[in-house]
């Protein structure tokens, strides 16, 4: 009897030990460091943005090399309804493990379907990230981390150095008057001063007015006042907003802008070829292409949409990656994101021409260095205006601002449409940025 019992206990011990071993295997493999095969699915909405696509490919390739048991499948999703697809997939439990997520006010509507990364990633990694709060719950970096930034992005204007020299422009324009003067000089030598169109929009393939609008508001307001635009203390119809937009429209009236500003699908090509001297609705995501095709002939310039010399710059980690809450591989997926924001991951991001979002990063790319130099030299840093404006108002802006630029609608009418939309929003969505979570 005793023998039988000891046999039974021995057998149970073996089963328990095997069970523990299996559990241990499961833990180690789920973080992706070793063990059984793990396949992670990664949804992206990068479209034709080569630098972002290359970044993702570089990161995946490097990570898979370090973790041979992990395979990351990248799935391209359409940019325009990406977030609706992501939400639908989460509801139907068919979502990916990893998904591109935008930070700022784009994030809160999806907070419920994203995993908190804090338990899976070390604090030292978080400490190393610039502006982490824009991917955190309530925009507070000490709370749940819902999205890990991929790169630090600049909304930025660029100018063609040869065109400027040809027109005798010695100093890069810094305010409205200098910009109008440069425009006159460039037109005299047969160069389109500023080219707009649909090719520089980072995602949608439409004219994106929010790049310029960010600099229009930089030229008029302090960063703290941007939250007043959000909460309505400064109305979208206020004279300060209208004045800036009127000056912006003057660029079109004065012939400083290509006449097909809204529909030109080759605006980047015109800038690169030198037919146009400046592009302002652009950003750091095109640095790779400019560097490759224009070599040293291109310079960065914060669009000088200001009465006083422009002294602000949009520098913001707008593009991030999240782990979906319903993922079966949260530790492994989080491990990939920790790698992304490590020095090894930063090297892969930089290789694709982007600026890794880690503190004190120094770029070897001349254009990236120049843009980082603006920050270091004391330019006031602003977020992307569309990332700190209610998405509903951003959508209205996409419709009315391009029309305003080319004179299809008046300044008053355009800002009124945004004002009306603002007033339609629930109070919780127009009090504080943090209140947008759950609002």
């Amino acid at each position: 009897m005793l023998r039988r019992r000891s046999r039974l206990i021995g057998g149970l011990s073996v089963i328990a030990a095997a069970g523990l071993a299996l559990a241990a295997c499961g833990n180690s493999s789920s973080s992706g460091s070793s063990g059984s095969k793990i396949t992670l699915t990664f949804w992206e909405n990068y479209g034709t943005q080569l630098s972002l696509l290359n970044t993702a490919k570089n990161l995946i390739h490097a990570y898979e090399k370090l973790h041979p048991n992990v395979t990351i499948k990248m799935v391209s999703q359409p940019a325009n309804n990406y977030f609706a697809l992501l939400q639908a997939s989460a509801i139907s439990h068919t979502g990916p493990d990893l998904a591109v997520m935008w930070t700022g006010l784009y994030l809160p509507p999806y907070a419920d379907i994203l995993a908190n990364l804090r338990p899976y990633i070390s604090q030292s990694t978080f400490n190393n990230i610039e502006e982490l709060q824009w991917g955190a719950e309530d925009f507070n970096s000490s709370k749940a981390i819902l999205a890990m930034p991929v790169d630090a992005q600049f909304y930025m204007g660029f100018y063609n150095k040869k065109d400027f020299a040809k027109a005798g422009i010695k100093q890069v324009p810094q305010d409205w008057n200098q910009l109008y003067a440069a425009c006159t000089a460039l037109k005299k030598v047969g160069v389109t001063p500023i080219v707009y169109g649909s090719a520089s929009a980072s995602y949608t393939g439409e004219f994106n007015p929010w790049y310029d609008f960010s600099y229009l508001m930089i030229g008029a307001l302090q960063p703290s006042q941007w939250e007043d635009l959000y909460n309505g203390k400064i109305a979208w119809t206020s004279p300060i907003v209208q004045d800036q937009l009127a000056r912006w429209h003057q660029l079109f009236v004065k012939g400083c802008v290509n006449p097909d500003a809204l529909t030109d699908a080759n605006n980047l090509g015109q800038f690169i070829s030198g037919k146009a001297a400046m592009t302002t609705d652009d950003g750091s995501w095109d640095v790779g292409q400019f560097t490759q095709e224009m070599k040293g002939n291109v310079g960065a310039m914060p669009p000088p949409f200001s009465v006083a010399p422009q002294h602000g710059v949009v520098y913001f980690p707008g593009d991030a990656i999240s782990v979906m809450k319903e993922s079966q591989n949260i530790p492994a997926a989080a491990n990939f994101l920790a790698f992304m924001d490590s020095p090894a991951g930063a090297a892969q991001i930089a290789a694709a021409g982007l600026i890794p979002d880690i503190k004190n990063y120094q770029s070897s790319n001349a254009l990236n260095s120049q843009m980082l130099g603006f920050v270091k030299s004391g330019y006031t840093v602003y977020p992307m205006l569309d990332n700190v404006t209610q998405p509903q108002i951003v959508n209205v802006g996409y419709q009315v601002l391009p029309a305003l630029m080319v004179g299809q609608t008046s300044v008053a009418s355009a800002v009124n449409a945004m004002y009306v939309k603002h007033n339609e929003l629930p109070v919780a969505q127009r009090s504080s940025y943090a209140a947008y979570f759950g609002g």
Partner: protein, 311 residues
């Protein structure tokens, strides 16, 4: 009715010698069996049609963001009609409706010519049908290049000495919708022409011949004899085209204009997408979907009634 005759058809059960009670029981049994056999189909219709429509109607009165919903009630409909953007979008749909006579008239004219077997009619029949075989996205991409400032349209105008008319229709709030309508007319050419050719082939030729014998000219024959006989086909083409214009040119708008500038080319269908998928306002999206359904159904009913009154 002569005595002893009954209007009731002879029952096979009676013929088989069954009593009245048995006949009634069998009838009830057959009815029950019918219901039972119909159940799978009814369940399918309920699950795939009635339930989603009911859900859409319910969610149209909520602020549903895809995950949570808050009940608003019928006020949601009233609030929508206070939204100037929505009214603008409705106006766009109304303007698109103005293109319908053209979408009908041109294919009808082409169908008459092809029916008369003009020289090269076989080639033209294929050529006219070609747009039908092209996807909306491809049509949209071609149209963007066609209407661009440095595109095909302006090149053609320059080539015929009209270079002073430089258009950029897709960049204009007022012209973008016209560009969409013209593209729609072109893309519907094949479908409607084939419908009308089929209709013309099905007509009784003796009526037209009789009219000609009576001295009617070709135009009179078409106007007085052929078109009245074609009404059913015109009605069908009209409904199909309205349905297409209101519910199936999303990809065209998406590729050509994105609904802009300034909502100038946003139709109700596209507005559903903008609200539901760009703003995650699925409740408003459902509300707009219900309205779109009501509008299309209303137009179809009115159109059928008007043409029926004329026949």
């Amino acid at each position: 009715m002569p005595a002893g005759l009954s209007m009731r058809p002879a029952s096979p059960f009676r013929l088989a010698g069954g009593s009245g009670r048995n006949w009634g029981r069998s009838q009830r049994g057959a009815a029950r069996a019918g219901w039972v056999l119909s159940l799978p189909a009814l369940a399918g219709v309920a699950a795939l049609l009635v339930l989603p429509i009911g859900q859409a109607f319910y969610y149209s009165m909520t602020t549903w963001n895809g995950i949570t919903s808050t009940w608003v009630g019928p006020d949601a409909y009233l609030q929508l009609f206070e939204d100037p953007t929505f009214l603008r979008v409705l106006e766009n749909n109304g303007l698109l409706l103005l293109a319908m006579p053209v979408v009908i008239a041109i294919p009808l004219g082409i169908a008459f010519l092809l029916h008369e077997q003009i020289a090269g009619w076989k080639f033209f029949r294929s050529a006219v049908f070609l747009p039908t075989a092209i996807s909306w996205v491809v049509i949209g991409v071609i149209a963007v290049r066609f209407y661009a400032l440095h595109g095909i349209l302006n090149s053609m105008l320059s080539a015929v000495g009209l270079g002073f008319i430089k258009t950029n229709m897709l960049g204009s709030t007022h012209e973008a919708l016209a560009a969409l309508a013209i593209t729609l007319i072109w893309s519907q050419l094949g479908t409607n022409t084939i419908i009308f050719i089929t209709g013309l082939a099905a007509l009784d030729p003796s009526l037209a011949e009789a009219a000609r014998v009576d001295g009617a000219g070709p135009l009179t024959v078409y106007r007085r004899v052929i078109i009245p006989q074609m009404i059913r086909f015109i009605q069908f083409a009209f409904i199909i085209t309205v349905l297409t214009a209101f519910t199936a040119i999303f990809s065209l708008i998406f590729v050509m204009t994105g609904g802009g500038p300034d909502y100038g080319s946003t139709t109700l269908e596209f507005y559903v997408y903008q609200q539901a998928f760009s703003e995650s306002a699925f409740g408003t999206g459902a509300l707009l979907g219900v309205l779109l359904f009501v509008i299309v159904a209303g137009i179809s009913v009115v159109q059928v009634r008007v043409l029926r009154a004329r026949i």
